[in-house]
Every structure is written in structure tokens, then in C-alpha cells.
Symmetry: D2
Subunit: 463 residues, 4 copies
């Protein structure tokens, strides 16, 4: 037997060792060392269960716990000696433990397999990281609520098709994203819930030959329920898909928001000024102030989508139960976790320091016939059928464009040429300042409705 396989867990039946390329293809220690905390936690609880059942003596159990605690400290301090030949984090820890405490280390693997062990570690990891990401996401939503409250009076053009449509409150625009992110919070929780089932104690695929105590494992590892089918336990990666999907959707939302921040930072829109802390200059053009953080977050949507499709591809057509292909789930998962966290921090940094140019916004909303809908509605209230009102209003816009005028220069006489029902009360109607307040419907952009939606979301997020 080769030296290489003599170090492996499973070398008994093999004549020759793995080739070098096999090692490079197989090794996962380069990325799965992230799981060390979860692996050690899982092993300690597993040892506790084996002790409770009389498989490990009190002394063995105590040796294992002390040994694992020591290893954890070494890893955290950076002094642990990771060996690539030991393939993955699980074997690095177990082999080191056995070197140090002897046979009890080997006995730790009783009643579990690598398949249920890895599934347990990854589920614990997703649960742990979801808590951190959830906190950042709540910070972002609360920041948007805060910005909305502080800037309740600012009005800017609302766009459809990138064309000026109707005046809206800046707070209303911010809250549109707050609501989108609040749905991401729901998706994150749903993904954490999917992870919250215990696979440990399911063995390689069929269950274990020992009467184990999975309720003990569940309680001490903090899972809410037990996976009741051992073949499902080792073949299921739905919870990873759920996290990658959450990441893709929040990526969608952040990319839309960043697109707007980039647009608003152009000299053409000029609605906001991003702080120096989130912009960079050019190595060649001295006047540049580039919104790099917004661009990078928008660009990182690519990897969030890519990671989801990576795992979907891996899972397509894979037969039961564990197949080695499944090892490829970790890199996309870890990358999406890190990317989402980093992007959320970036969003918070950008929005915190964003200067809102309210005068520029105001002047933009007074241009471009943003109250043409109000004009049409005025006619409707004077009993002109809706479609006719719409056509009259459109004709007035066309007239203004051809004459290079705006609504505010039109006399009542001018208007009467388009419809006899116009009266002097039309002046107030054309004023954008009044337009948002006329929006009385629930969920609209009037001040009272924005304050109400803020109130509702605040409670929903923070209760």
C-alpha cells in the first residue's frame, strides 16, 4: 500500500495510491477549512451522544472535547498545521485529534459517516452566516427608513421607461427598495429554515447500526427538527440552492438600486453626490469621480447568478444518494455568502454618505410635463371620458413641444383651444407641488401614505 493511501480513511482495499491530479481534483481543504467551527461543534455533540450511550467512556469524551478545543484555538490563532494530503477539514481535524489523544479519536467516527457529517457542518454554517447577513439586511432596511423619514419633503421625477412620468417623493422611491429588501429578508429566513433540519446520525445513506440518540444531537446542535429519511439526508442540497437563490434575488435588487445611483451620479442627472469613501479616480483622467462601489455591486450580480446556476447544473440528473459531484456545492455557497455580505456593507456605506441634491431634483420635476396625467384627470372630473381626456392632454404636450414651451406658460385661452371645459382652477392642477398630495390612494406617494408605509414596514422588520 502506498504511503499516500495509508494516510487515507479508506485505504484498506486499494493497491496503489491516488495520482497527483486526483489529489488536486479531490482536495477541498483549500476552501472547506471555513467549516472548522461547525465541524468541531458537531464532533463535540456527537461525542457527547456516544458518551451518553456508553460507547465512549467519560474519560474518552473528556479527551475528545479537550483535544477539539485545542485544535479550534490553534486554527483561530493561525498555528494549526493543515495538510493537503488529509483532503478536507474533517480529516485534518480528526487525524490531528487521533495523533494527540489516540484511539478515542478514531472511535469518534462511530455511528456517523462523512456524508452526514459534511451535511451537518454545511447546514450549521448556513444557519450561522444567515444570522449575520440578516442583521446587515435589517441595518440596510432601517437605513432606508431613516433616510426616508429625514427627507420626506423632497420631490423628484418618477420614471417609467426611463421617461419622466409623474412627480414622486424621494422617500417613496427609497421605500420601494426597502420593501424589496424586506422580501429578501423573508427569503433569507426561508433558506435558513430549510437548513434547520438535522442530518447527523443518518450514516452514509441507510441509517446506522447503533441505537443512536438523534434527539440529543438535534437539541444540542440547535436544529429545529430531524431529517426523517437517511437517503434524503445525504443527497439533499435544497437548502444550499435556497441560499443561492436568495443571493441571486437580492443581487437583482441591489443591481437595480446601483444602476440608479450610477445614473443619478452622472453629470446629466446630477441628483446625488456619492462620498469620496465609495468613489475612486482615474489613473489618467484627473477630473473623474467614479462610482466604483455601485458598479462593483452591480457587477457582482453576475457571480450571484452564476453560483446558483452552478449548483442547479450539478444537481441535474444526479442519482441517489451521495455522489462526489456534491462536493462542488461549497465554493459557490461560500462565495455567495461572502459576496452578499460585502455588497450589503457596500450599500450601507454608499447610502450613509450620499448627498441628496434636492434642488436639482426639484427643478427636474418641474420640467417635462410631469403633470400631464393630472391635466387628463382634471378633464375626466369635468366629465370628459378618460380616453378623450388622455388624447386632449397628449395634444397639448405635442403643441408645447413644437412651440418649445412648458405647461406654465400656457394661458387659459391657449388651453381652451384644446377643450372648452378648462377653467381657471387648472393652474393649481398643473403645479407639480400639489400633484403628489392629490395621490390619495393607499400606498401612494402622498406624504401621509409614505409615513403610513414607513410605519408598517418598521413594525414588520423590527418586531
Amino acid at each position: 500500500m502506498s504511503d499516500k493511501n495509508s494516510k487515507k480513511l479508506w485505504g484498506g482495499r486499494f493497491k496503489s495510491g491516488s495520482s497527483d491530479v486526483t489529489e488536486r481534483l479531490s482536495q477541498s481543504i483549500a476552501f472547506d477549512s471555513k467549516l472548522y467551527r461547525q465541524d468541531i461543534r458537531g464532533s463535540k455533540v456527537h461525542a457527547g451522544m456516544l458518551n451518553k450511550m456508553g460507547i465512549l467512556s467519560d474519560g474518552e469524551y473528556s479527551d475528545i472535547v479537550k483535544g477539539l478545543d485545542g485544535i479550534e484555538k490553534e486554527i483561530e490563532s493561525g498555528s494549526f498545521d493543515f495538510q493537503t494530503s488529509r483532503e478536507d477539514i474533517h480529516m485534518n481535524i480528526e487525524a490531528t485529534l487521533t495523533e494527540r489523544i489516540g484511539d478515542a479519536g478514531k472511535r469518534l467516527h462511530t455511528g456517523r459517516s462523512r456524508n452526514d457529517q459534511v451535511a451537518t457542518d454545511v447546514r450549521l454554517y448556513v444557519k450561522d452566516e444567515s444570522v449575520k447577513i440578516g442583521a446587515l439586511l435589517k441595518d440596510l432596511i432601517n437605513l432606508l427608513i431613516d433616510i426616508s423619514e429625514k427627507n420626506i419633503d423632497i420631490i423628484l421625477p418618477g420614471y417609467t421607461h426611463m421617461q419622466v412620468a409623474q412627480p414622486v417623493r424621494f422617500s417613496h422611491h427609497m421605500m420601494a427598495y426597502a420593501w424589496k429588501f424586506s422580501r429578501d429578508l423573508r427569503r433569507l429566513r426561508s433558506s435558513a429554515d430549510a437548513a434547520d433540519f438535522l442530518p447527523l446520525g443518518c450514516g452514509a445513506l441507510a441509517g446506522v447500526n447503533y441505537k443512536n440518540d438523534r434527539e440529543y444531537l438535534r437539541e444540542n446542535l440547535g436544529f429545529s427538527d430531524i431529517i426523517m429519511n437517511s437517503m434524503d439526508a445525504v443527497s439533499d442540497r435544497d437548502f444550499v440552492l435556497d441560499f443561492l437563490y436568495f443571493s441571486a434575488v437580492i443581487g437583482t435588487h441591489m443591481s437595480r438600486f446601483c444602476e440608479e445611483l450610477i445614473l443619478w451620479s452622472t453629470s446629466e442627472f446630477n441628483f446625488i453626490r456619492l462620498s469620496d469613501s465609495v468613489t475612486t479616480g482615474s489613473s489618467i483622467m484627473p477630473q473623474k469621480k467614479n462610482p466604483d462601489v455601485a458598479e462593483l455591486i452591480r457587477g457582482k450580480t453576475g457571480r450571484l447568478y452564476g453560483n446558483l446556476f452552478t449548483l442547479l447544473t450539478i444537481l441535474k440528473g444526479l442519482p441517489m444518494t451521495y455522489n462526489r459531484d456534491l462536493q462542488e456545492d461549497k465554493e459557490p455557497l461560500f462565495d455567495s455568502i461572502e459576496t452578499v455580505g460585502l455588497c450589503l456593507e457596500g450599500m450601507i456605506e454608499m447610502l450613509s454618505g450620499m448627498e441628496i441634491k434636492k434642488d436639482v431634483m426639484k427643478s427636474a420635476v418641474y420640467r417635462n410635463f410631469s403633470t400631464a396625467t393630472d391635466l387628463a384627470d382634471y378633464l375626466v372630473k369635468k366629465n370628459v371620458p378618460f380616453r378623450e381626456s388622455h388624447e386632449i392632454s397628449g395634444s397639448i404636450v405635442k403643441f408645447c413641444e413644437e412651440e418649445n414651451r412648458d405647461f406654465f406658460t400656457l394661458t387659459l385661452e391657449d388651453l381652451k383651444r384644446f377643450s372648452s371645459v378648462f377653467e381657471s382652477d387648472i393652474t393649481a392642477i398643473l403645479d407639480p407641488a400639489c400633484s403628489t398630495e392629490r395621490k390619495e390612494s393607499a400606498g401612494s406617494t402622498s406624504q401621509s401614505q409614505v409615513l403610513e408605509q414607513i410605519d408598517i414596514l418598521k413594525k414588520r422588520i423590527n418586531d
Copy 2:
């Protein structure tokens, strides 16, 4: 004004009409006519609200309802005259209504825009279709439970890495998929919940100028809540993504199951025989009996993934609020709805008529050292450390392979050459028939545990 635009809703300001290619790019009537029921339901409730608020008279309201009912009947009977120049289902219905009942038809669009109208229709459609798909999915899960109960005694090889691993019950294998599909049911509900918020009454983007009654709309259209931000209401497609994601994941599960059904149908495995109703022959090879339905379902995973990626791409970097790109959400949604439904029907048809060849399965489980793990565990129970037990067991397998023997031909003497702890009780250990029953852990493949998981899932699904 051109003839073409005179037919449009928005022609007032336009000098020349749309070009032919614009018509072909813009039209959606070829696919969105699917929404006619939801559009008519929405319009009737909207008219009811306008009537309640005094905007429509009782007579107008009654004309609208009658007119819409007539149109619905014509569409269902196939006699309705769809016109491509009227772009979409909404305009086809509204324009026909106005032709028939006059001005009241035009007035129906008061207080709503195409943006909130379309969003409402699609949400209603997703909710309606989710009910049908949910019923099919429950049928499939209950069928798997039924098959498991009826075939509780059948044992087959359990595989990891496509290599024989340990004996498992056929019912356990079926239940692994039942659990996967039960998670899909949760995802489907979560997607239907995401759709269950009312956008109607939000107007084009900012709210409407009329004091509308969105609570009336919500109650009469059966939504559980109201979207409280009008900009979010017209720009949000998360609920469509959620459905496409559910579809992609259930596609994953069905593709894995079909892969196994295809494998089991090969002459090499020969574990099952699919019925003639789901297999086809070859135009050239008379002996063929091809598992086409399983292959097609596996292949359709492609479009389920593709549809999800289509919408994610569309949404990437899209600024607020409504952009015409969003029209492209419907074809992937409709295709995934139809595909998932069809595949579920196909799964049910295949599994209903599947013949299980229990003798072939049994003979397979007796080959290939499927109880090597039990052999190692036997040694562990005799106090041989786990890793050593594993190596001894591996060496015995290697010896058998080299001698072309199986476990059942080994004498106690043979075994003692590998370890002195072997005694006569080893014979029972090596028998696969006993192996599944030794799996005493919760969620394992023993009969009692399989019956317990069936019990749990039954309650979870059908309560």
C-alpha cells in the same frame, strides 16, 4: 394621425404610427391571452369599486359586468375575435367592451393604469395555477407514500457514487423523493404567498388621483394583503422569480428521479419495467422500448432552468419603475407553469404503472459486498477500533475480489485469518436480509422507521 395609432390607447401625441417590426416586437396577444379570466375578474371588481365610489353609475356598472361576461363566454367558446393590432389581452377586451357598451367601457380605465392592471392579472394567474399544481404535487407525494406502503418488504441496493453501498428498502428510496417533493410543496406555497399582495389601485407608479378603495379590491379579488408602495407594485417581479425558482428546483428533483427510472429500466439494472403507456419504440430498431417520458421530463429541466435565468437576466440592473423589458416575464412564466404541470402528470403516469421486479432487486443486493459495513461494525462491537475494523473489512473484500468469491462462501477459518475476533455469529451479520433491520436510528431504512416517516409525512401533507 395614422390609422394604426388611432387604434392605440396612447396615440394623442404621435405623428406617425408604429412600424411593422415594432408591432411584431411589441405584441403580446399571442401569449397573454391566457390571462383573460384574470383580466375580466379584475375589471369587474375594479368596476364594482368605481361604482361604490360613485364614479360609475349602477347602469354603467351593470353594462360593464354584462359586457365582460359576454366577452369571457366568447373567449371560452373560441368565438372571440382577437386583434393583433390591439397589442395585448387587456386592450383586446377593453376595446371590444367599448365598442359594445360605449363610453362606460372607456371609463373603466379610470383610476388604474396598464402597469397595475397587468401586475394584478399575473398575480391572480400565479395564484390560480399554483392551486392546480399543488394538487398534482400532493397526488404525486401520496402516490409515493402508497407505493412505499404496498412494497414495504422489497429490498434493493442503496448506492453512493453509483456503487453498491448498503442494502435499503425500496420504500425508503421512494420516500426519499417524497420528502424532496414535500419541500417543493413548501416552495410552491411560498411563491403563491409572494403573489398574494394586491397591486391594483397603485396607478402607473405614483398612486392615483382618485380616492379609491383598495381594501374593497383586495377583499373581492381574494388577496391577503395590499402592496403599500405604488412604485414597488409596478416594478416588482419577485413573485414570478419565486415561481420560476420553485419550478427549477422541482425540475432538479424530477430529473434525478427520472435518471434513476431510466437506469433501472436498462437491461443491465432491470429493476423495473415501465408500462407501454409511457414508453415508445424506435422507427428503425424493433426491439426498443424507450423510456421517453422519463427522458423528456429529465430534458425539460433545461427549460425550467432557462426560464429562471431568462427573468433574472431581464431584471439585472433595471431602474425604477416599470420598463417595457418586464413584458418578457410572461412567456417564461407560462412555459414553466405548463411544463411543471405536464411533468407532474407524466411522473404520476409513470409511477402508477411501474412494475417493480423485486427478485432482480433482491439478487442485486446479495452481490457486491453490500454488508461490508456491517462486517466492520461487527468488529467494532468486538472492541476493534473503528478505523482498524474498516481496514480489516476492506482487506476481506479485496481478497474475495481477487479470488472471485462473495461473502457467503467464506468459512469462519477464512475470516479468522483476517482477525481472531470473528466467531460463528458473523454468519447472520453478513446476511443482507438482516442488515436493514439493524438500522435502528431515527430516519433509517428499517421497517419500523420507514413506517414512522410515512406516518409523519402523510400528516404533514394532508392536514
Copy 3:
């Protein structure tokens, strides 16, 4: 034998017919009828080969050709009776032919199978459609060249990070897309080349038992070469992937271009005015002029990406040789063919009628310090090290911003406070009008270089 299977090609061995859901899953006539021309062409040439080899008599051959010609005419006139129970276009044509001309129709299938027949039809289809798309693509490139030549004098801001960077010629900007599209032309040709190999005569997977004449088939069907491995012939879909990839990349380019056309159409940029023929209005906001065609093309990028991913997913892990999953290649292929053609027509329509607002562009280029790089370069030429020049130039920009001034109001005295090397020749340097002409490097935005690149691309495309 059921009625249903008695109509099938392969019913001989089957006891019961296909179920209804199997029919719905299996049928492809709803989409593959597009292939009728190629199927008939292929059958006629195949019959010619069988006749040449003496398998079909002259009379039989003549009957087949006449029968197929008749069927083709009926399909083109819309009078052909397609039957869903006949599954696909191939069987619809063959069964009808046999009904009309008897046994010779059945004999036509001698020496070919559905597997090589379908592969041949799809390859012919891709070749045919590539010619049409190639012509549209060349039209688009030539249109961009034409626009560039006619507007060679127009200058607008060049952007990086969406921030004004340096002045560029409008023609240079248009030519950047012309070059991108010229690479798409190369990709299209490469995909057509991949399709240009003959599978016909390979049989189901192993070759055919008849000494056929594949060289005759190749020559008469116009393929450039023969697929030399029959298993590859029926399992290969690389050429479809190549087309879907071409479509995804040109989608990328069109989406980037459309994004800019949409931006330029905003009231904030206001660089262009799209014609009424490619814009639409709003059902509720009378002033709107929405760039729908540009938005739809940008949105359709989604389905072009989705279609590629659909087929990649289908092919992942599919064993040799033909599997029914492969039937799922056609819908994404047909959809991408149609979408790319439609989008190219849309691009041509949009660009043909686009009004270029050169004064708005000019005024934009004079703002925003677009010559700050020239200022830094001036200092370098006066022997200030590059990095220092960059810093001085940046400080002047910062000064201007703080004082709300632009470059053209700075006196020499003002400038000398930043560096003593400034002299009166700086005035010309700061003028954007001279900046583009100072770009003397090959491929730059100076007039002579733009004319040169036009010349090169013209030759490359049209020779």
C-alpha cells in the same frame, strides 16, 4: 394493439397505447413543423440516392418527388392537415406521402433513421436561417458605417464609469458597435460552419446495412463535409449550442447599445430623438414617448441567455447516443433564431430614424472638464512627471468644482498658482474642439483615424 399505436412507426411490440399525457409530452408537431422545407428537401435527396443505388425504381422515385412537392405546396398554402397523433413533422409528411403513393412512401425510410433524419433537417435549417440573419447583420453594420460617415463632425462626451471622460466623435462611438457586430458575424459564420456537416446516412447510431452513397447526399444537400462517426452524428448538438451562443453574445451587444439609446432618449441626456415608429405612449400619461423597441430588445437578451442555458443543461451528463432529451433542443433554437432576426430588424428601424441632436451633444462635451487629461498631458510635455501632472490637473478640477467654475473661466494667473510651467498656449489645449484631433494614435477618435477604421471594416464586411 391500440388504435393509437397502430398509427405509430414503432408499434409492433407494444400491447397498449400511449397515454394522453405521454402524447402531450412527446408531440413536437406544434413547433417542428417549421422544418418542413428541410425535411422535404432531405427526403427528396435521400430518395434520389436510393434510386441511384437501385433500391427505388425510377417510378417510385418520381412518385416520391411529386408526392413531396405536393405536400410542400399544401403546407405553404396552409391547407395541409397536420395530425398531432403523428407526433412530429417527419411522420406527418411520411404518413401522408404513404397514404397517397403507397408502398414507395414506406420504402423512403430505407437506410435512414429518425435520428440522422432529424439531425440533417436541423442542420439544414440552421444553415438556411444563418444566411438570412447574416444579411440582416451586414445591413446593420453597413447602416452604422453610413451613419458614421454622414455624421463625422459630431462630437459628444465619451464616458467611462458613466462619468464624462474625454471628448469623442459620435462616429467613433457608432463604429465601436459596428466592430462588435462584425465579431458577431464571425461567430455566426463559425456556427453555420459547425452545422455544415452531413449526418444523413448514419442510421440510428451504428451506420446502415446498405451500401449508401453519402457523397451523393452531401453534394446534393450542399454540405461541405460528411460526419465520419455515426455515433457522434446522432448525439452531437454542438452546432445548436454554437448558434445559441452567437445569439447570446449578439444579445449582449444589442442590450448595451439599447441601454445607451434609452439613456440618450431621457430628458436628462437628450442626445437623440427616436422616431414615432419605434416608440409608444402611455395609456395613462399623455406626455410619454417611451423607447419600447429599445427596451424590448434589451429585455429579450434574457431569453437569448435562457435558451443557451436550457440546452447546456439538457446536454450535461447525457450518455451516448441519442436520448429523447435531445428533442428539447428545438424550441430554444427556433426561439433564438426568431428573436435575433426580430431584434436586428428592430435595431435597423430604430437607428434609421434616429434624430441626432448635435448641439445638445456639443454643449455636454464643453461641460464637465472633459479635457482634464489634455491639461495633464500638457504638463507632461513641459517635463512634469506624469503622476505629478495628474495630481495638478486633479487639484484644478477640485478648485473649479468648489468655486463652481469651468476651465474656460480660468486665467493664466489662476493656473500658475497650481504650476509655474503654464503658459498662454494652454488656452487651445483646454478647448474640447481640438482634443479629438490631438488623438493621433491608430484606432483613436481623430477624424482621420475614424475614416481609416471605416475603410477597413467596410472592406472586411463586404468583400
Copy 4:
């Protein structure tokens, strides 16, 4: 000015430094250090050009070359001090160079920008790596040719729909993959050709103010042509897409091949035995011999697809010219380069040591009516119409199945009950050993045709 930005290239205009999260989002040194060789090569040639044009003196040029050579050696030996605050590999090299040789280091950036510099480095890298991957790919194809030649006599069942279809040569099956890989070689070359255009000298987006000599750069950096549009030069990532697409398609092919190797390694098929060097055991099941390398390669298809979709997503809707999103192109590119190389090495290792069990294959081909097509063709040659022959043959199969017999036990009398045309010559027809040789068509599985296709491919690959 903060300390942080004082280290930046572009700090002149900025008041406060980048925040910590901006640094983490922006930095690329963690992955782009891979480009050091190309960056140094590019800088040396750029310096040569500046020297030729008189912008750098001979002494300065010599200092730059020596300085860069020193840095290259330090990086290769691992002693170079990378600083994250210097963002990327380009700034790490340039800043170190300037520390060591003074102002000449700063002057090196004359006439180039980061945008054209990065594009040049990445193009050089793709070209370099393509050569290595091309060599591995040719090794793999030649190995398949070699295996085919050495095992020309082995016959195994050919499958369609995973059902035994017709007998084929093992060499024919191997060559099917060789042909697929030969198309990947074409795609790889096409991607390397797309990279083979020089962007250097295009500046940030508009060209440079110095009369540079791009022909010198092209010749000395070994590009075949010059990018003639500077805006295209800095915004184009088509060549990266082309590489990622090549990677996805070869991933498709490798996943299909691996799927078959995994199937053939099951105890049910048992057609091959993979060597110990590419298989692993189980930590818990001592009998296992898992085809991990094949599974990992199949699984890595996921990341190859994911990487392609990552970049497609990034590019969707991105306006001209350089946007920071484009920095995200590198990680997917580097990952696909590494993955494809590793997988090719893995394929070669697996196939080199693969044991072919020809007796098992032979016995499989004699079962399952693999010559039913030959039987039908026999009838056709006796003038029974093809469709009837097919039905008779199918009926014989059904009869055998019901009677549990195979073809070889049927007497002439038995056969005559199905058709009177059967004569004693049918015996030879039913023998699979003769079947492959009867395939006389070009590209078929007969020995002469396999030898011919080997000959053709050999020449095509190695000339």
C-alpha cells in the same frame, strides 16, 4: 488628503480616503497577481516603444527593463511584497518600480491607461493559457485514437435512450468522443484568435495624445492585429466570453463521457475497471471503490456553466465604455482556465489506466436482441416493405420476451410463423459478430470505416 489615497494613482481631487469596505470590494490583487508575467512583458514592450519615440531615454528604458526583470524574479521566487492597498497587480508592480528607479517608473504610464493595459494583459494571458490547454486537449484526442487502435476488435452494445440498440465497436464509441473533442479544439483556437488583437495604445477610451507606434507594440507582443477602435478596445470582453463558452462546451463533453465511465464502472454494467489512482474508498463502507475523478469532472461542469453565465450577466445592458463591473471578468476566467486544465489532466489519467473488460462487453451485446434491426433489414432485402419488416421484427421480439427466449434459440420454423420469407441464411444475420461488419456506410462502425475515421482525425489534429 488621507494616507490611503495618497498611495493611489488618482488621489489628486479627493478629500477623504476610501472606506474599508470599498477597499475590500475594489481590491483585485488577491486574484489578478496571476497576470504578473503578462503585465511585465507588456510594460517592457511599452517602454521600448516610448524609448523608440524619444519619450524615454536609453538610460530610463534600461532602468525600467532591469527593474521589471528584478520584480519578475522576486514574484516567481515568492519574495515579492504584495500590498493590498495597491489594489491590483499593475499598481503593485508600477509603484515598486518607481520606488526603486524613481521618475522613470512614473513616466512608464505615459501614453497608456489602466483600461488598455488591463485588456492587453488579459488577452496575453488567454493566449498563453490556450496554448497549454490546446496541448492537453491534443494529448487527450491522441490518447483516444491510441485506445481505439489498440482495441479495434472489441464490440459492445450501442445504446439509444439507454436501451441496447445495435452492436458497435468500442473504438467507434471512443472515437465519437475524439470527434467531439476535436471540435473543442476548433473552439479553443477560435477563442484564442478572438484574443489575438492588440488594445495597448488605445488609452482610456479615445486614443492617446502622443504619436505612438502601435505596430511596434503589436509586433513585439506577438499579436496578429490591432484593435482599430479605442472605445471598442476598452469595452470589449467578447474574447473572454469565447473562452468561457469553449470551457462550457468541453465541460458538456467531459460530463457526458464521465457519466458513461461512471455507468460502466457500476457492478451492473461492469464494462470497465478504473485504476486505483483515480478512485477512492469510503470512510465507512470498506468495499467501496468510487469513481471520484469522473464524478468531480462531471460536477465541475457546473462551475464552467456558472462562469459563462456570470460574465454574460455582467455584460448585459452595460453602457460604453469601461465600467468597473468589468473587473469581475477575471475570477470566472481564471477559474475556468484552471478547471478545464485540471479536468483534462483527470480525463487523461482515467483513460490511461482504464481496464476494458471485453468479455463482459461481448456477453452484453449478445443479449437483448441487438440485431433486431438486422432482422428487419433481412426482410426488406427479401422485398418486404420497411414498415412491415419493422413490425414483424417487433413481434418476434415480443414473442421472445414473453417466452423468455433469445434470438439464438429460435428455429426456422419458429420464424416462419412470423413471415414465410425467412430462410436458413437468417442464422448468420442474427449473429451480432457479423452485424458491425455489415455496416458499410461511410462513418459507420465497421472496422474499415473506424480505421478510416481514425486516419482522417489523426491528420486533422496533428498536421
